[in-house]
C-alpha cells in the first residue's frame, strides 16, 4: 500500500521560506499569489493491506518522526 504524507506548518507559525517564495513569484511577474506556505511531501510503500491499519501505522509514524507536531500538521493519503 502506498502511503503519501503531506507535512505543513501549522497556521500561525511563521514561514520565512514560504514568504521568500511568494516574493520570488511576484518578482517573476506572477501577480496574485499570496499566503505561500512551504511544506514537505513524503511517500513510501507499506507492507499492509488493510487501509485502517495502514492509516494507524502512518499516523504513528507522523506523530513520532515525520512531523514535529509542535510546529507542523500532517495529512495522510493511502493509494
Amino acid at each position: 500500500m502506498k502511503v503519501k504524507v503531506h507535512v505543513t506548518l501549522k497556521p500561525g507559525v511563521l514561514d520565512p521560506q514560504g514568504t521568500a517564495i511568494g516574493h520570488a513569484l511576484g518578482s517573476l511577474g506572477f501577480a496574485g499569489a499570496s499566503n505561500v506556505r512551504q511544506g514537505k511531501y513524503i511517500e513510501f510503500d507499506l507492507a499492509e493491506t488493510d487501509p485502517k491499519a495502514a492509516r494507524e501505522t502512518a499516523k504513528a509514524m507522523c506523530e513520532k518522526l515525520l512531523a514535529n507536531t509542535v510546529i507542523e500538521n500532517y495529512a495522510i493519503d493511502l493509494a
Binding site: V13, L14, P16, A20, K64, N68, V70, I71
Partner: protein, 229 residues
C-alpha cells in the same frame, strides 16, 4: 567525574567540546558514538553542535531517535544533567526533552557571529557562576535557531523560570534588533522543568580563553564542574 560527549554522524563541535571540558574539568570526557545502547555511569552528558544526520527531515530529528538517545532520555528522566549546544539543543527539543522547536532563522540565512545573550537566572547547575542579568558574548553558528513554542507553553516556561538565556543588546536590553534569528521572546536557551537539562544555541565551548576571542563561555563549564564535583 565522568562526562560523555555524544558523537553523531555530522557532529562537528564534538572535539571543541572535548577540549573545553578537559581544560576546565581536568578530566578527559569519553566520546560516545550514536549507536551505543549502553552507557557507563555518568555525571554529565553533552550533545555537541553540528549537523547530525545532515539535518535530514528536520535539524536534530534523526538524532533524537538514535539508539544512544533512548538511553540519554532514560537517564535524564532520573536526573542525569544533559547539556545540548546548538544542534544538541535541536536534538533535545526533537526528543521531547525540552519544550518547543527550533525553526529556520527568520532571515533564512546561516548566521555565524558573536552575539550577546543575557543570563536570566544564575540558579541552576549550568549558570551558577554567572550573575543573573549578566550579558555574555558567545558566538552562534546556525541556520535553524528560531525558537518557537505556542503562547501557553511560552507563558508556562517563563512562569517556571525555565528561560536560561535571551538574545539582548550590549546593555542587556531584550530588543528585536538584537534577536538574530527571530526566536520567540528572544529565547536563546531553556531549561527543562527540573533545570537539569539545558539547551543553548550559542557555542560556549568556542570562547573559553582570550586566545580564542573571549572567555565568556567558561563560566558555564565552571558552573557544571562546581555543581557536579
Amino acid at each position: 567525574m565522568k562526562i560523555a560527549v555524544i558523537v553523531f554522524p555530522g557532529s562537528n563541535c564534538d572535539r571543541d567540546m572535548a577540549v573545553a571540558v578537559e581544560q576546565i574539568a581536568g578530566v578527559k570526557p569519553i566520546m560516545v558514538w550514536h549507536r551505543e545502547t549502553e552507557l557507563p555511569k555518568l555525571d554529565l552528558a553533552i550533545l555537541p553542535g553540528g549537523f547530525s544526520y545532515g539535518d535530514y527531515l528536520r535539524s536534530g530529528a534523526m538524532a533524537a531517535h538514535s539508539p544512544v538517545m533512548r538511553e540519554i532520555k532514560a537517564r535524564a528522566a532520573s536526573g542525569l544533567p544533559v547539556l545540548g549546544i546548538c544542534n544538541g539543543f535541536q536534538i533535545l527539543t526533537e526528543a521531547g526533552m525540552l519544550p518547543g522547536a527550533l525553526m529556520r532563522n527568520r532571515g533564512l540565512k546561516f548566521i555565524h557571529r558573536p552575539v550577546t545573550t543575557r543570563v536570566e537566572s544564575s540558579r541552576s547547575i549550568f549558570t551558577s557562576r554567572y550573575q543573573a542579568g549578566q550579558v555574555v558574548t558567545i558566538p552562534i553558528a546556525h541556520a535553524d535557531g528560531n525558537y518557537f513554542a505556542a503562547t501557553d507553553v511560552l507563558d508556562r516556561i517563563e512562569g517556571q523560570g525555565q528561560v536560561a538565556f535571551r538574545y539582548c543588546d550590549a546593555a542587556g536590553a531584550v530588543t528585536d534588533d538584537s534577536n538574530p534569528n527571530g526566536s520567540a521572546r528572544n529565547i536563546a536557551g531553556i531549561f527543562n522543568e527540573t533545570k537539569t537539562v539545558l539547551g543553548y544555541m550559542p557555542h560556549p565551548e568556542r570562547v573559553i580563553e582570550p586566545l580564542l576571542g573571549g572567555s565568556d563561555g567558561r563560566a558555564l563549564f565552571e558552573s557544571l564542574i562546581g555543581a557536579l564535583s
